[in-house]
Structures are given as structure tokens and as C-alpha cells.
């Protein structure tokens, strides 16, 4: 702790904290234009200048750490003049089209211009023609740009794609883009303090003050990021009832969103009436159902109701994808000594040594990628990915690609455990059975690669292991989970296991899942004999996840809250439960405190950014429970052969499920993408229509060669399927060409 004075008030700063951060944490205001707390300071605006007693000139508070005992003044006559001059400079030739500017008053430039009372302009320079640009999801208007560099900082540090860069040229300098690297996340749009960077689809459609903000959580992947749905009526509709979501925003200073969260918001069920006939039918069907199949895109409360219905009617609760994860976590707990993994996304961002196994990090959960990027940029983290595909998408983040043979994840983890675990006494048999030479031959990972990894880890302080879906759905998942559990217990790594769907972790913690039996099946958001669907294509309509209140358990093990962004007019699961069980709950959130976690009511949960210092609270953390028994790890099994055309089930960036599929802002493409090498091996060419089947599902796809890809594995998207598969993601297939 460093103690110093700001404006005569004693405050203290943590080690490495800047004067600005310390002051803000203590509620002292220092104006800034370019400062973005989640990135390193750009120091381009110089608004945050402060005076330090005994120092000549100004000190930039954003990138200067305090020294014990200094006295800082944040406001004085000279500082005011200085800041006023800075604002005058910013206003040179800034167009005065505030009336139609997309920022509509949420403008940092406007605020600070008024704050420092810039009422006349004493500087001038010849203006020049600057062309507006359209870059996919964002449009850029250089004449509005103030070159604060927030967008480039966020693209480089947080997203890690470095698509945006500064084209220098003095007064002519502007932002430019390398479109091939852009992942359409819209982070640049969210941090822009003026109207220069705007969303293409949102631009000029609504004024900020007309939009009603509802805080909620994203429903697309297991990160369940905090966001705001901003909705408005349209010109020819009633005020509240027909509101639709115009955009999604976030607390851009502290939190991030990926493209699916920011642009994939239009998945609400626009059903207009309550279909009483279908509802009555649904009540009958529940009584005769043998199975209820559901996806993990469900709130904890709805699942709780399904469980209550199960108690009465005795049907099987089926969710294969969540059951695979549940089994994985069970086996994990048997060696880890506790029920849950011990790292969070924040731990990834703060670590300096990261190994990922079996995860397509920018596609399965973009926040893993974002946090790895922050670790790389802020802590110079060493990142190694063990994956059969060398993913060019993350080449700017990864230090070491370790390419393993398809199906050899178990061997890879065994090698990792053998190298990193120090105290092997409790799993002696397993470690004695490991033959590194054999595993190396089987998995195609050389011993040198692992040795290199070990070598670079020696000086690192915090190591994180990220476990992805390939491993969770691996044929050998049970034993792999035990190895991962032991890696956590031994302290070699902190572990994050990426839940395979939005609320998979919540589903696993709340319910016991069964296997499906022969008989009548009700599907919730998945096609069955009787379908309850939030897509609006089933037998009875259900509210989509942006139309209901409830909670999720996300990857960070936080119980996060959902609020309704738009009105829903049909029947809910709560109505079914009320009718069948004689309950009287007005809404599902009356069950939140009964979920089995903590006895806290929904309305008492706090979720979001709390204060200007960036304190984030997301509901409450679900505690890991100790497990007494200790299982022993089995020997590494022999590998299956994966020859010929191998297809990897993975969604393209910003696509996750059937709800993102139909988003008009995301533009889904369900095509098979492979490298040229794959095309030659499979004897198909770019533009062919192909047919193949994976685990009984037949796919008709358009094939496209992506020159950025290498290797002999093609990507097949699965977001157009109802439910996520619980099968191993790599499959050997026979590809038929079906061109007409």
C-alpha cells in the first residue's frame, strides 16, 4: 500500500495502481478522454494531467503510479485552462451535426466541452475531405474521430485480433482496419466516446434517450456476459407492448461482449396470443410423457419446475450434452477432492502461463479468448494450445501450438500431468504406467515440445489450464476428467472447464439427468413428439431467453440474473407448472431462492458494474463442495484411428445455437469449411454441394475452401441443430458430392 494525498485527502494505492485508478476508487473525479480502464493507458488525451507538489509541470495520472507521501492536486486554475485548451483542440473542425449524430447525447466530447465551458474557438486549421467507411458490423466516420485510440487499444489488447490500427499522418491520421482479422465483435463501437465508430445496423435508427435499458445476461455461451437490452416501440405501435430490441450495450469501460452477444439479440418469440388449445394439449402431454428432452439454454428456475413436474409424473429428464458434462464433473471431483474447478475467467486474464486442451477458444467461448488476450498483453503470458488443428484465428495470442493427433487428448493430458505434477505419490500406479515415448508416438506430441513447455513455465507465477469441449465429449472423458482433477488437486494448474452450453453448469448442479427411454417425448427447444419452442416453430410457444427472468450459472460459477428485454405474450412453463401442480407462482423467479444454492431471493441479487471504480458483482458465487473419496486414474487407453476425411464440429465465430442462427445482424452461413489440403484429400472442390452423416444426422452442406486453414480437418457448423451433441467432436466421414 502506498499512502499519498489527493486534494488534501489521505488515500492509498495498491502496488502497480496508477494515481487515476486510486483516486477513482476513492471517489475523486479526474476527467479523461482516452482512458479505458480495461486496457493499458493510451496517454493520448492528456486530460488526466494533475499537479504534484514540488514537481514542475503536469503529471499524467493515468500511467503514473504514486510515490509514498506525494501531494496531488486534481483541480486548479491552470489545470482548468489546460483542459479547456485540450477540449478546444478536440473541437477543431469537429462537425456540429449533433442533431443527427448516432451518439445522440451519450457523447464524451459533448460532455467535456460543456464541462470545461468551451464557448469560443481560438484554434483553426484547414479542414479536409474524409471519407466515411463501412467495415462489416461497424461504420467509421473519420471526420467525427478524435483519435483517442480506445478502439485500437481494445481491439489489440482485449479482443486480441489487432484488426484496427492507426494510419499515422499528423492531422490526417485516422483509424484503419485489416478486415481479414476482424471478428465482428463490436468492442470498438462500444468504447468509442464519439459517433465515429458506430454499429452499421443500429446507426441512425434510434436516439439513445428513447431506448429503455434492461440489464440482463447474454444467453449464447457459458460466459453469460452482463449486458443491457435497449428496446423501443416503433412508430406505428403501442408504447410498451410492441417494443423491440434495437441494440445491446455493455459497461464498456469494464466488461466486454463478443459479436453474438452484441448483435445476436433479435431471437425473441414474437407470438401474439395465448394459444389455449395448444396449452390444454400440453397439459395432457405432460401427464403421458415418458421423456422430457431439453437443451441447456434454459434458466435454473425453469429446470427447477421441470424437476417438480418430474417428481409428480415420473418422466425422464433428458439432456445428453449436459449429462456428458455432469459425468465429466463427477469424475473430475473424484480426484480433485472438490466438486468444481477452481479458476475463473479473471484468473485467466491475470495468469501468465496458459495451456488449453481440446478447446477452440475463439469459437466455443469468446470470453476465454478475450481473457487470454488480456493475459498476453498485460502479463506477457505464455500461451500453449494442445489441439489437432493449428487455428490461424488465434495466431497473435498463441506462443506455442502443440498439435496432437485426433483422439489423443488423453495421452496429451497424461504427458502434461507427468511433466507438471511434482508429488505423484497418491496416483502412483497411473504415473508408473505412463510410457512417455509411447504416448508421444501415439499423440504425435514430441517430448521436446512438452519439455519446452515445462521450461517456459518455470518462472511463471500463476498457471491456468483451460479444458474444452473436445475433451468433455471424448470417448475417454471419464479418465480424462480424473487426470484434470488430479492436475487441479496437485496445484500444478488452476483449472477452467468450459461448460458446453449456456447454462450447462447450472443444469448439472440442479438436476440428475436420465437416459432417454422408448416412449412419448416432450421436447423443450428441441424437436420431439410434442415440442415446446421459444423459436415459435413448435406445438406450444415458450418465451425466449431475452423475454424471461431467471438465473444462469456461468463459467465463473456465478449465479447471474436475466431480465426480460421485451414483452412476451404467450404461455410460459410457469403456467404449465401452476396448472399441473396447483402452484400459484406469478413468475418463475419466485423459485430462485429454492434452487439449492443460497437462500437469496431473485430481487435481492446484485448483478453488474457497481461503481465508477469498476467493481463488478455478478449474483453470488457457487461454492465448490469438498469430496472425500479419491478415485485412482486408469491407464491411458489405446487410441482409435482417425483416417480419411475428418470433420470437426465447431461453429463459426459469433454463432452458437439455433437462436443466433436467425439473427439478421449476424448473417449465418452453414457451410463446410476446409483447407485446400482437405479438399484434395476428400476429392471435392470449393463450391461443391456435399452430403455426409455424423452420428446418424445427415448434413447437406455447401463446401468452401478457406485458404487461411491448414491441415486435413474440415469445420462443420452445428449451430443449426436443435441441441448440442454429446459426441466426440471429431468424426471420420464419407463425403458424397451432390452437385446438380
Amino acid at each position: 500500500m502506498i499512502n499519498f494525498k489527493v486534494n488534501g485527502i489521505e488515500i492509498s494505492a495498491k502496488k502497480g495502481e496508477s494515481i487515476l485508478d486510486a483516486a477513482r476508487r476513492h471517489g475523486i473525479y479526474i476527467p479523461t478522454m482516452c482512458y479505458l480502464p480495461k486496457t493499458t493507458p493510451n496517454a493520448s488525451c492528456r486530460m488526466c494531467s494533475v499537479e504534484v507538489e514540488g514537481q514542475d509541470g503536469f503529471v499524467l495520472s493515468c500511467n503514473t503510479p504514486p510515490v509514498e507521501g506525494i501531494e496531488v492536486t486534481t483541480d486548479s486554475e491552470t489545470l482548468y485552462k489546460e483542459r479547456q485548451n485540450i477540449m478546444k483542440m478536440y473541437n477543431v473542425n469537429h462537425p456540429l451535426q449533433c442533431g443527427v449524430c448516432d451518439k445522440s447525447g451519450e457523447c464524451e466530447l459533448q460532455n467535456k466541452t460543456l464541462e470545461f465551458e468551451v464557448d469560443e474557438q481560438t484554434f483553426a486549421v484547414r479542414d479536409q475531405y474524409r471519407k466515411k467507411k463501412k467495415w462489416g458490423v461497424q461504420t467509421y466516420d473519420p471526420s467525427l474521430c478524435i483519435m483517442c485510440e480506445k478502439c485500437t487499444a481494445v481491439c489489440n489488447e482485449v479482443v486480441g485480433s489487432s484488426a484496427l490500427f492507426i494510419k499515422p499522418g499528423g492531422y490526417k491520421s485516422e483509424i484503419d482496419i485489416n478486415l481479414a482479422d476482424c471478428i465482428s465483435c463490436g468492442e470498438c463501437v462500444s468504447v468509442c466516446p464519439v459517433g465515429a465508430m458506430a454499429s452499421t445496423d443500429f446507426k441512425y435508427t434510434a436516439n439513445a434517450w428513447e431506448l429503455k435499458r434492461v440489464p440482463s445476461s447474454c444467453a449464447h455461451c457459458s460466459s453469460a456476459c452482463s449486458l443491457y437490452y435497449e428496446s423501443k416501440h416503433t412508430a406505428n405501435s403501442n408504447r410498451e407492448y410492441d417494443a423491440k430490441i434495437y441494440r445491446v450495450t455493455n459497461d464498456a469501460d469494464f466488461t466486454s461482449l463478443c459479436g453474438a452477444g452484441r448483435y445476436g439479440f433479435d431471437f425473441e418469440n414474437r407470438v401474439q396470443t395465448k394459444d389455449e388449445e395448444a396449452f390444454a394439449l400440453a397439459l395432457d402431454k405432460f401427464a403421458q410423457a415418458k421423456n422430457v428432452v431439453f437443451t441447456s439454454q434454459i434458466t435454473n428456475e425453469e429446470l427447477y419446475l421441470l424437476k417438480k413436474l418430474q417428481e409428480k409424473f415420473g418422466f425422464n429428464l433428458v439432456n445428453e450434452e449436459a449429462r456428458a458434462f455432469q459425468n465429466f464433473m463427477k469424475n473430475f471431483a473424484s480426484t480433485a477432492g472438490e466438486t468444481l474447478y477452481n479458476a475463473t475467467l479473471k484468473d485467466i486474464a491475470q495468469s501468465d502461463f496458459i495451456v488449453t486442451v481440446g478447446a477452440s477458444i475463439s469459437r466455443d467461448n469468446p470470453m476465454i479468448r478475450f481473457n487470454i488476450s488480456q493475459a498476453v498483453k498485460h502479463n506477457k503470458a505464455y500461451v500453449a494450445t494442445i489441439h489437432p488443428i493449428v487455428d490461424g484465428e488465434i495466431k497473435k495470442l498463441v506462443t506455442q501450438y502443440i498439435k496432437n493427433e485426433v483422439g489423443s487428448e488423453e495421452a496429451a493430458l497424461a504427458m502434461l500431468a507427468d511433466t507438471f505434477v511434482e508429488d505423484k505419490s497418491s496416483q502412483k500406479e497411473f504415473f508408473e504406467s505412463i510410457d512417455l515415448g509411447y504416448l508421444s508416438g501415439e499423440s504425435n506430441i514430441s517430448e521436446e515440445e512438452i519439455a519446452l513447455l515445462k521450461h517456459f513455465s518455470s518462472r511463471k507465477k500463476s498457471r491456468v489450464l483451460v479444458i474444452g469441449e473436445d475433451v468433455i465429449n471424448h470417448p475417454q472423458a471419464a479418465n480424462i476428467a480424473k487426470i484434470v482433477g488430479f492436475l487441479q488437486k496437485s496445484g500444478a494448474f488452476k483449472v477452467v472447464i468450459n461448460p458446453t452450453n449456456t447454462n450447462t453448469l447450472g443444469v448439472c448442479l440442479i438436476s440428475n439427468l436420465d437416459e432417454a427411454e422408448e416412449g412419448f417425448t416432450i421436447g423443450y427447444n428441441t424437436k420431439a413428439d410434442f415440442t415446446l419452442s421459444a423459436k415459435g416453430d413448435g406445438d406450444l410457444d415458450m418465451p425466449a431467453l431475452n423475454q424471461q427472468e431467471g438465473t444462469f450459472v456461468n463459467i465463473d460459477k456465478d449465479l447471474v440474473t436475466l431480465n426480460a428485454g421485451v414483452v412476451y405474450k404467450g404461455y410460459e412453463l410457469n403456467d404449465i407448472a401452476n396448472a399441473l401442480l396447483g402452484l400459484r407462482a406469478q413468475s418463475v423467479i419466485e423459485y430462485t431462492h429454492q434452487l439449492g444454492f443460497k437462500d437469496i431471493k431473485f430481487d435481492e441479487l446484485v448483478d453488474g458494474v457497481l461503481n465508477p471504480a469498476g467493481e463488478i458483482v455478478r449474483g453470488y458465487k457457487i461454492e465448490s463442495q469438498p469430496v472425500k473419496t479419491q478415485a485412482s486414474i486408469d491407464e491411458v487407453a489405446e487410441l482409435g484411428e482417425y483416417n480419411g476425411s475428418v470433420i470437426y464440429s465447431v461453429n463459426p465465430i459469433n454463432q452458437f445455437n439455433q437462436f443466433t442462427k436467425d439473427s439478421e445482424h449476424l448473417g449465418a452461413k452453414t457451410e463446410l469449411v476446409g483447407s485446400l489440403q482437405f479438399a484434395i484429400a476428400a476429392k471435392i472442390s470449393s463450391g461443391d454441394d456435399v452430403k455426409f452423416s455424423i452420428n446418424g444426422t445427415t448434413y447437406l452442406r455447401h463446401f468452401r475452401v478457406d485458404r487461411k486453414l491448414t491441415g486435413t480437418i474440415a469445420f462443420n457448423p452445428s449451430f443449426d441443430q436443435d441441441n448440442k451433441s454429446a459426441n466426440y467432436r471429431y468424426n471420420q466421414v464419407k463425403i458424397e458430392v451432390t452437385n446438380e
Binding site: 443527427v100 445522440s104 483553426a124 484547414r126 434510434a206 436516439n207 412508430a235 406505428n236
Partner: protein, 205 residues
């Protein structure tokens, strides 16, 4: 009739005379006497005679609405007018949404979008005249003098939809081409000598 008649609000100039009114009776006997007196005096016929006399004379002092209409002052606030630009005949409205925001009876609705030239374009503009209270805030707040109040106060209709016709409010293109668009002088308009008061932006190059 000139505008002076409307602008002159000095009510004291005319010839006033006091009306001779008896004191009101306070007791029952007095009230009874008044009733008897009024009943037999035939006051009703006095009034009827005046009406009959004036009718025969055809010396009519009232305005013959709807054939005749009183002129309306420029600051009168009746049905809105949407103006066009003199230079291009394009609509003046830039879609800033301030009128929608300031409207205290929530009767203005705007939808905007981006047009092919990357400019803001108004795709839907409606004023629910059935709900409008003609307060004039929209005209006052408009930065472009695009929305003003006109003198059209007759908006009875048997269809509610007729109360929101944007096309009816917009200056017709033939009228515009003929140069017949009336500029607004009332609420929110700039004062005639505004040019002299505007400060120039310093362009030192």
C-alpha cells in the same frame, strides 16, 4: 380585417355603462313579489321582439361560419406543417427526434434509418392529432424550422387514421415549386436581424 383588431387588447377604451340592477330580495315576501312582477310584465316578449326585428332587418353582425372564416394570427397553433427546403425541395426534417422527445402528450413518433448516402433519413413520421394538445413545443424545439404550426384548425373526421396523415402536413411539391410555401414567423423562428448577431467561426487560414 387587419390584425390590429386582434392585437389590441386594451379593454378599457370602449364606452361602458352601468346596468341598473335592483337589490335582490332577502325575505320570502320580497321573493314572492318579484315572481308576480316578472310573470305579468311580459319580459319574454321583449326579447322575442328584438330577435324578430333584427331578423327582418337582415343587419347581421355574426361571422357566417363555415362560409366565412376569421383570419388566424401567425402565432396561432393548429395542425402542424412540415416544411421543405427552398434549395432542393427535400424535406427539412433531419430526424433528430427532439420533437418526439419534448412532446408532452407523447403523440409524435419517428422511425429513422440510414439511407444509401449514409445520411439519416426519416422513414416514418406521425403526429397523433387526436392526442395533440397543440402546445407548440415541437415547433419551438425544432432546430431546422421543419415542423411549424399552421392555421388549419378544422380536423373533424369520422376516421381516427385521418388524424395522423404525414402527407397532409407536408408542403405539397407543386406548392413548393410555385414558391408558395409560407415561412413561419411564430414559435421558434429566428428574429429578423439574427444575421447581425451571429458570431463567425474563426477560420484563420
Amino acid at each position: 380585417m387587419s390584425l390590429e383588431a386582434f392585437n389590441n387588447r386594451n379593454v378599457n377604451e370602449g364606452d361602458y355603462f352601468l346596468v341598473d340592477i335592483e337589490d335582490y330580495p332577502t325575505d320570502g315576501w320580497g321573493k314572492f313579489k318579484r315572481v308576480v312582477k316578472r310573470t305579468f310584465k311580459g319580459e319574454l316578449f321583449v326579447g322575442l321582439w328584438v330577435v324578430l326585428r333584427e331578423m327582418i332587418k337582415f343587419d347581421i353582425h355574426t361571422v357566417q361560419y363555415p362560409e366565412e372564416k376569421m383570419p388566424i394570427g401567425p402565432r396561432y397553433r393548429a395542425v402542424h406543417e412540415m416544411k421543405r427546403l427552398w434549395e432542393s425541395d427535400a424535406e427539412r426534417c433531419i430526424g433528430c427526434g427532439l420533437c418526439e422527445k419534448i412532446c408532452i402528450s407523447n403523440c409524435i413518433r419517428i422511425d429513422t434509418r440510414i439511407d444509401e448516402n449514409s445520411r439519416k433519413e426519416v422513414s416514418e413520421y406521425s403526429i397523433n392529432l387526436g392526442r395533440c394538445i397543440y402546445c407548440g413545443y415541437c415547433a419551438e424545439v425544432c432546430p431546422e424550422l421543419a415542423i411549424t404550426h399552421g392555421g388549419e384548425y378544422e380536423n373533424a373526421s369520422d376516421q381516427r387514421e385521418h388524424f395522423i396523415m404525414y402527407e397532409d402536413m407536408l408542403t405539397p411539391i407543386d406548392k413548393m415549386k410555385a414558391g408558395a410555401q409560407l415561412e413561419f414567423e411564430g414559435f421558434g423562428s429566428i428574429t429578423p436581424h439574427e444575421d447581425e448577431r451571429v458570431k463567425k467561426t474563426p477560420l484563420a487560414y
